[in-house]
């Protein structure tokens, strides 16, 4: 085997979305040498697609807001299986993280008195989302990127990590390849931060890009860390459904925050038909009250379209299943109706939702200021991920940290819109801070050359597999996506999930025969073949965890256990790799919430 180019850092951050960039900035500020590896070009990570806003109790629009209300909203939205400490830190620190972005050049929309404007979003009691029209993620990633490039961080773009390197239990680096020439590289580091995002490419209908193949989840799992809450996948209620080529592309919740309504093919606002008990006191009684809420009237309660995403998705599925869907298998989302309510509605919509206007006009020939959109659920986010210490973000492996979507705990069974961007900032910062601290207290570990060579050989196997009986990696990926979509999707049951596990087993065998043509230079077929391993691992983890949770809660709905079960409300599912290499799942009691937080929840019932 040849010599691999080797880099040495104090802290290596894997992933350059919001969490990775924020972690790298923080680690660099602590005075350590930082390397940042990302799968795409800098500034293209999935954060760029976030639309609606960043949730933080700034109380700029409604002075009644504070961290306690945000904490209570987050826990209620997560159906109380969240890690309370993460939800607490998040609610307390998010406002500072948003203000910091402004100090780094972000330009948020303004209130009349010149402060950061906040908008309504599902599950948030008060208008809480700092935003820039419907392109908040772009503003956030560009601000972090432009600030970050002046902090002395070494950036390795278009690199994919294949394996973490260990020195006994400690994680001491990573091994991967660069896309341009297909060469392998070693990154030695005293601490590693995973910030690789989610898993959406395991599903057929998704708002996620090709990058989202559960890389961080799998790297951590393979290295011996634990995954938690993997059954909880967020199906965002509003993805585009037509034309076929755009199916799954996100339609921001901001449409509903601005007053958009959901209707079925009979013109009925079906969201009023079923209001969950926990939200009854917070939900409008009439359409008029809902509208007044969106207009900022403080005595009004939220319209049912702004209930949590898990609930809205299920209501949409119900309408479609019972024959009340739109022609292309969705329901209607209408913002144009606000013309009846306000003057200059057309200009208002274009100003508040410019990229939605653009997206529908260009991709679907729909003018959203004139016509309703057709929407349906799309795989959007995974609440589950690497189990971390809430304060430091370190996994159970010394030196391995995780932040953002690939870490877990803050969201519980369902994430509130807007809490993801703030999660990236709050816990990205913490991961960077504590990774730097760990790096200062530890030396470089030693790495085993044979293990690296084995990873390289495995990665190159698809070039050797060509010939009879070989498999097209794109086809395996597509088959897996259909399996997960159909059998481990929004509505689940034991029989279908057992079938899924069986199929995943077969896909694994097929993946071993995945073959690619061409050479190692910028070869997407090869990259697809390599990513299969991660997709299969996380698909298996999701299915096992979903089987283990024999109840319906938040994003997990099982028609064989359609109700919530108090016993399952006290536990998390934990997935880890057993010593024989098999996947092990167990239930573990939630950490006990301290009294002062119980009181906060009671006060905000």
């Amino acid at each position: 085997m040849p010599d691999y180019e080797t880099f040495e850092y104090d802290v290596l951050v894997i992933g350059a979305g919001g969490a990775g960039l924020r972690a790298a900035i923080e680690a660099s500020a602590a005075g350590v040498r930082v390397g940042l590896v990302c799968k795409s070009l800098l500034g293209k990570a999935h954060t760029v697609m976030a639309e609606g806003g960043i949730a933080a109790a700034l109380a700029n629009v409604d002075e009644r807001d504070n961290w306690k209300v945000h904490f209570a909203d987050t826990m209620r939205g997560g159906q109380y299986v969240n890690q309370w400490r993460m939800a607490e830190l998040h609610a307390k620190e998010a406002p500072d993280r948003v203000r910091e972005l402004e100090a780094w050049g972000a330009v948020f929309d303004r209130t009349k008195d010149g402060r950061i404007l906040q908008r309504h979003f599902g599950g948030h009691k008060y208008p809480r989302l700092a935003h820039v029209g419907d392109r908040t993620g772009l503003e956030m990633i560009r601000t972090l990127q432009d600030h970050g490039v002046h902090q002395g961080i070494d950036v390795h773009m278009e690199h994919t990590i294949l394996s973490l390197l260990k020195d006994s239990d400690r994680v001491v680096g990573a091994f991967g390849y660069e896309r341009e020439r297909g060469r392998f590289k070693i990154f030695r580091a005293k601490a590693v931060v995973l910030a690789t995002g989610g898993v959406g490419r395991a599903y057929k209908i998704t708002s996620n890009s090709w990058e989202y193949t559960g890389d961080g989840h799998t790297l951590a799992y393979e290295a011996g860390a634990e995954l938690i809450d993997m059954e909880f996948i967020q199906f965002h209620p509003t993805g585009m459904v037509w034309p076929p080529s755009v199916m799954g592309i996100l339609v921001t919740e901001g449409v509903r925050g601005e007053g958009g309504i959901l209707t079925n093919n009979q013109g009925r606002r079906f969201m009023f038909d079923e209001i969950p008990e926990a939200y009854r006191a917070h939900t409008a009684d009439s359409e008029e009250e809902g509208w007044r809420y969106c207009q900022g009237h403080k005595d009004a309660r939220r319209p049912p379209e702004l209930l949590t995403r898990d609930h809205v998705s299920r209501c949409i599925v119900r309408e479609i299943k019972e024959g009340r869907g739109s022609p292309h298998g969705g329901v209607y989302l209408d913002i144009s109706w606000i013309k009846q309510k306000i003057p200059n509605a057309v200009e208002h919509i274009k100003r508040k939702l410019p990229s939605m206007y653009h997206q529908f006009k260009q991709l679907a020939d729909i003018d959203i200021t004139e016509q309703p959109m057709e929407v349906g659920p799309t795989t959007h986010y995974i609440m589950g991920g690497v189990r971390v210490d809430p304060d430091t973000q370190m996994s159970r492996l010394p030196g391995l940290f995780a932040a953002g979507e690939c870490a877990a705990g803050i969201n519980g069974a369902n994430r509130l819109g807007g809490n993801s961007l703030s999660d990236l900032l709050v816990f990205g910062k913490r991961a960077g801070e504590f990774a730097a601290k760990f790096a200062k207290e530890n030396q470089h570990g030693s790495i085993e050359r044979e293990k690296i060579d084995a990873v390289a050989r495995e990665a190159l196997a698809p070039f050797e597999s060509a010939g009879r009986g070989s498999e097209n990696p794109y086809v395996i990926q597509k088959d897996l996506q259909e399996t997960m979509q159909n059998l481990v999707g929004i509505v689940r049951n034991e029989g279908e999930m057992r079938e899924a596990l069986e199929k995943i087993g077969k896909f694994k065998t097929r993946a071993e025969k995945a073959a690619v043509t061409g050479n190692r230079e910028y070869n997407p077929g090869w990259h697809t073949a390599i990513d299969l391993k991660n997709l299969l691992t996380i698909s298996e983890a999701i299915t096992h965890a979903a089987l283990e949770r024999k109840e319906s809660r938040g994003a997990q709905f099982r028609d064989d256990y359609p109700n919530k079960d108090d016993a399952f409300g006290k536990v998390n599912t934990i997935v880890s790799k057993a010593s024989d290499g098999s996947m092990h799942v167990r239930l573990e009691p939630l950490p006990e919430m301290p009294d002062y937080l119980k009181q906060v929840i009671e006060e905000n019932r």
Binding site: S40, L41, L42, G43, K44, A45, H46, V48, M49, R99, E102, A103, W104, G105, V107, D109, R110, D113, G114, R115, V132, G133, R135, L138, E139, R142, D146, V149, H150, M157, E180, S209, W210, P243, P244, S245, V246, I249, S355, H358, Q359, Q362, L363, A364, N472, P473, Y474, V475, K478, V516, T517, G518, N519, E521, Y522, N523, P524, G525, W526, T528
Partner: protein, 250 residues
Amino acid sequence: MKTATFKIWRGDAKSGTFWDYTTDVAEGMVVLDAVHDIQRTKAPDLACRWNCKAGKCGSCSAEVNGMPKLMCMTRLSELPLEKPVTIEPMKAFPVIKDLVTDISWNFRVKKKIKPFKPRAPDAPDGTWRMEQEDIDRVQEFRKCIECYLCQDVCHVLRDHQMHEKFIGPRFLIHVAALEMHPLDTEDRIEELRNTQGIGYCNITKCCTKVCPESIQITDNGIIPLKERVVDDFYDPLGWFWRWLKKKLKS
């Protein structure tokens, strides 16, 4: 089913040629869908960049029938499919492979631009106050998704290859966003004229025409910057003021 033929440039830094691929056409398809179909079924090693598939990340820039476009936002229904659709990499940057170009120059240029430097906070809690109308223009510039189509079409870069002397429309807009940011206190006018080459832009507005975010690059960004340069360097009062500032600083 209807089909279409795509002539896709394939090759590397040394050489390349057009390859013909035929694929089925479904309703609503965009050029990127066709490229993905071809990857899946005919050319698994066909290199292209993409991420969001919704016009938000600016990764899938290419030249479709000779026009700089985002492949994810170019619908096949807009193109004459009775003849082959050509897809080529951007021309202002060196080719890596197939549709993928080496755009690292852009990252190097950006790093050299002086970063945001805010004034002291307006309120005791460390926050600032800005009027919405004072940030509308800056927000327009900050819509930029860094697809670099404006760089690709700019003749100063594309035809004259003046990458060492001219930062291109993308970064003029970046400078404009910083210079017009109500909180910023930095001065970037001198390097705009000297090292960043704003004078090379002769406002043909090609950049504005190809911008997928419809940013008025020339009218709202470059021309006002040119005016600032003129005020500072060619207006005698401006010149004197600049001289005085320097003097006071030293």
